[in-house]
């Protein structure tokens, strides 16, 4: 028994000594903790984490305001008919495997991305071809102004040609970012090492590690103990304690993600705009923002945040009297309270099944708050917590009545791309309206696809926002505020509102 024990102890010893001799140490590694897991090297699947860790890069980049900037394409031009896009490929850019970036590599990556799931498949692409070594031309069958923003999406990252297997599977994550992959242990841990041949601002921190912290509580503890230098997605309830710690600074940043309720406008009880308006009025957004999410000021009645000014209407949020107005609207429609306190019309009780998903823990609590507020006006509400895939599935099979979702309108840097998907098709899209037939919206959005003049663009975008605001095919509830803690030993932290990059190469560690 003793011998067995000694053998086991020495086995552990050997297992660990190998790992602890590795190069990254707490002194030379910036450690990051956030909630996302990753399983695959493929940018089309988990690119969001690889682009945040700055391993992968795209042809174009996006600045804080959502405007396109040059990245691997040093310059780009759009033909007058907006159907031909020409990109000058930056010269002297090295992939992590040492090879040089050229037009052929770009074409290969984009053609492979086109075979996989992503926004590029939605673009009316006719041809992608290399013109010599340093130019790539994309020809479209119809004008598509959001192509630039789509190309900036992580799924369309440019990898070294040798990174792919024959069938397009990603074998190694050899891209061009300021950091290269050092350790990949899905689903929890990722370590990157600075890439000395980077074409842009070179990193000063030798290593950065990413650890998935599933529970918001453990992320808070990691911030408190100093084990993680930067912690994203902090629970707002923990902020008062963290604020008192001398070794941390806290950042609150608005991001273009909004909690909205997707409604099935064909569902008999929700067919009338007034019914949808009443459900919207019944929600105490200020209460939810303050009491449930603890981000006062996050309440909103619009899907887009103020930062996306083209799409945001300049109207104030309604603050009080919502419940009385809601009750009046429903009474107008002939709903009367029965003896149980529920609204009834012709023997039918006003019931709604609100589905949501557990991937974002705040959605469940917000759903129950909305349940209580709807029940208060007599709407019988059932909350079902399920998986995020239930939303598109319920949209397709028509079973969805109402769904509480957190929609990321900055997923593609130009919100038009998301709006086209959510409201463009007649009746709406899987993460937007459902059975909401508004010809004007479809027309406006397809016109916007081809509008390059800024003034006209804004005008049409405002019209779209007004239609959605007036007819409530979805009910916006609150916008998102990202809470981040940063250790004082980190200098130069900056938050990217589009959450494309952690901007690791702009940070320094103070000794």
């Amino acid at each position: 028994m003793t011998r067995l024990f000694i053998v086991l102890i020495s086995v552990f010893g050997v297992m660990f000594s190998g790992q602890s001799m590795a190069k990254p140490t707490p002194e030379n590694t910036l450690s990051i903790s956030a909630a996302f897991e990753f399983t695959s090297l493929d940018p089309s699947k988990n690119g969001y984490i690889f682009s945040r860790m700055q391993i992968i890069e795209t042809l174009l980049d996006v600045d804080e305001k959502g405007a396109l900037m040059p990245a691997l394409a040093s310059h780009w031009a759009i033909s007058n008919d907006a159907k031909t896009w020409t990109f000058d490929i930056r010269q002297g850019v090295h992939f992590h495997d040492g090879s040089l970036l050229d037009a052929a590599a770009v074409v290969k990556s984009l053609k492979i991305a086109l075979q996989k799931h992503g926004a590029l498949r939605k673009a009316p692409i006719e041809q992608i071809e290399a013109l010599g070594d340093h130019q790539v031309v994309i020809r479209l069958s119809s004008p598509y102004v959001v192509l630039g923003a789509v190309l900036a999406n992580y799924a369309n990252a440019i990898l070294s040609p040798s990174a792919y297997a024959k069938d397009g599977e990603v074998l190694a994550l050899s891209s061009t970012g300021p950091y290269q992959l050092y350790q990949f242990s899905p689903p929890h841990k990722l370590v990157v090492e600075k890439f000395d041949d980077y074409w842009g601002k070179k990193a000063s921190i030798p290593y950065a590690s990413y650890l998935t912290g599933h529970r918001a509580e453990s992320r808070v503890l990691q911030a408190r103990s100093g084990q993680a230098d930067i912690v994203f997605g902090l629970d707002p309830a923990s902020l008062p304690i963290l604020k008192r710690l001398p070794n941390l600074t806290l950042h609150s940043n608005a991001i273009p993600r909004t909690i909205v309720i997707k409604l099935n406008s064909e569902y008999p009880f929700l067919k009338d705009i007034r019914a949808r308006q009443a459900l919207s009025d019944a929600i105490n957004r200020v209460g939810i923002a303050r009491g449930v999410l603890r981000t006062p000021g996050a309440e909103t009645e619009q899907i887009m945040p103020t930062s996306m000014s083209n799409w945001h209407l300049n109207v104030p949020n309604k603050v009080s009297g919502g419940k009385a107005k809601a009750e009046a609207l429903l009474a107008e429609l002939g709903w009367q309270k029965n003896k149980d306190g529920y609204l009834e019309k012709q023997g039918e009780v006003f019931t709604v099944r609100l589905i949501t998903y557990a991937d974002r823990p705040e959605l469940t609590t917000v759903a129950t708050a909305i349940q209580a507020q709807w029940e208060a006006i007599g709407v019988k509400t059932k909350v079902d917590v399920t998986n995020s895939s239930a939303i598109p599935m319920g949209h397709q099979d028509g079973s969805l009545q109402a769904a509480l979702i957190a929609r990321n309108y900055g997923f593609i840097a130009d919100p038009l791309a998301v709006l086209l998907a959510d409201y463009g098709q007649n009746g709406g899209g899987e993460w937007g309206a459902m059975n909401w037939h508004n010809d004007a919206i479809s027309r406006l959005l397809s016109e916007l696809e081809q509008t390059t003049d800024a003034q006209t663009y804004r005008q049409k975008a405002q019209q779209v926002a007004q239609y959605i605001y007036n007819e409530r095919p979805v009910i916006p509830v609150t916008s998102y505020v990202q809470q981040t803690s940063v250790s004082k030993r980190v200098k130069g932290f900056h938050f990217d509102p589009f959450e494309r990059r952690f901007l690791l190469n702009e940070m320094e560690l103070i000794r």
Binding site: F36, H117, Q227, M393
Partner: protein
């Protein structure tokens, strides 16, 4: 001995087939569309839609008849091929190895520490009797009554935040192992010290034990010659059961400490309907279960060879 091993080998084959088939049938009979679930796990909540589901369905051939899919799995298994994950596309064997390795490491470390706690305390309880016995039993009941999650958080607060000795979460170095292992050990020891105590008490009271004292052996000699073996059989059997149940049942500790174990991985695979990973993980756990049981049986047989004749 040979018969036992042969029997266990047969058991192993039955377990592998049974566990794999059962997980296959159960996962296939869950409501909802698999393709959507897999797509959500693959592409993330911001990027899941019916196009993604259609792509997944086509790529993985989810439209094929369940019997056909089962046949594929079975023939693959006969060639020791567990297939690829439906979510990541990586070989199942790799992720199972990664997860099971970490779970076993944590489980063994936890068990070892729990043995170091439970055996001395259990023996002391049995030896000294009241009032120490009552105090120790009360303490172990109190610890047992606390969810393991709470113990973990308390340890993190004390050793990671207050004293700053160990990291809060993560893996990769010895320091990362300490807190999860000690948390686990404490909750295990709270039960196993009772088993040690009961077994020791029974032995101390036995006629043969009393007789050996009467015939003039010292307390230590009596314990060494007549105590250890007799106490050990039920204790070893119990530790074996604890170890097995731990490998699959430490999800809470794994998620609290961001430990990439199989319990956590299996839970995620079930949410994602990643059938090959579920089958692979369940299979691996079934195999570990049979192997550990065999090991414990052999150990018990070595301690008490009388079993062979039966």
């Amino acid at each position: 001995m040979k018969a036992l091993l042969l029997k266990r080998l047969l058991q192993l084959i039955t377990v592998v087939w049974g566990v794999g088939t059962l997980t296959f049938v159960l996962m296939r009979s869950l409501p909802g569309d698999m393709a959507y679930r897999i797509a959500a796990s693959r592409y993330g909540q911001d990027n899941v839609n019916s196009d993604a589901a259609a792509l997944v369905r086509e790529e993985l051939g989810l439209n094929q008849h369940p019997l056909e899919a089962y046949w594929h799995w079975l023939t693959d298994l006969l060639q020791f091929n567990l297939g690829n994950s439906m979510v990541s596309g990586l070989p199942v064997i790799e992720s199972v190895q990664h997860m099971l390795g970490h779970s076993m490491l944590l489980a063994f470390a936890g068990l070892m520490v729990s043995i170091l706690i439970a055996i001395p305390l259990g023996l002391l309880s049995a030896w000294r009797g009241n009032p120490l016995d009552s105090v120790l039993m009360g303490l172990s009941s109190a610890i047992r009554a606390m969810p393991v999650f709470v113990i973990g958080v308390l340890f993190v607060l004390l050793f990671a935040l207050h004293l700053g000795w160990f990291p809060v979460a993560g893996y990769g170095t010895f320091a990362h192992l300490v807190l999860p292992a000690v948390t686990l050990a404490l909750s295990l020891a709270a039960v196993s010290n009772r088993v040690v105590r009961d077994s020791a008490k029974q032995t101390f009271r036995a006629a043969f034990y009393q007789f050996s004292k009467v015939k003039g052996l010292s307390t230590w000699q009596t314990f060494q010659r007549h105590g250890v073996r007799n106490i050990a059989v039920p204790v070893v059997a119990f530790f074996g059961i604890q170890l097995v149940s731990m490998i699959e049942g430490i999800v809470m500790i794994e998620s609290l400490f961001s430990w990439p174990g199989i319990g956590h991985g299996l839970a995620h695979a079930i949410f994602a309907r990643d059938i090959p990973v579920i089958q692979g993980a369940a299979l691996a756990m079934g195999v570990v279960f049979v192997l550990l049981n065999t090991l414990v049986d052999l150990l018990c047989l070595w301690i008490d060879p009388r079993g062979v004749e039966q």
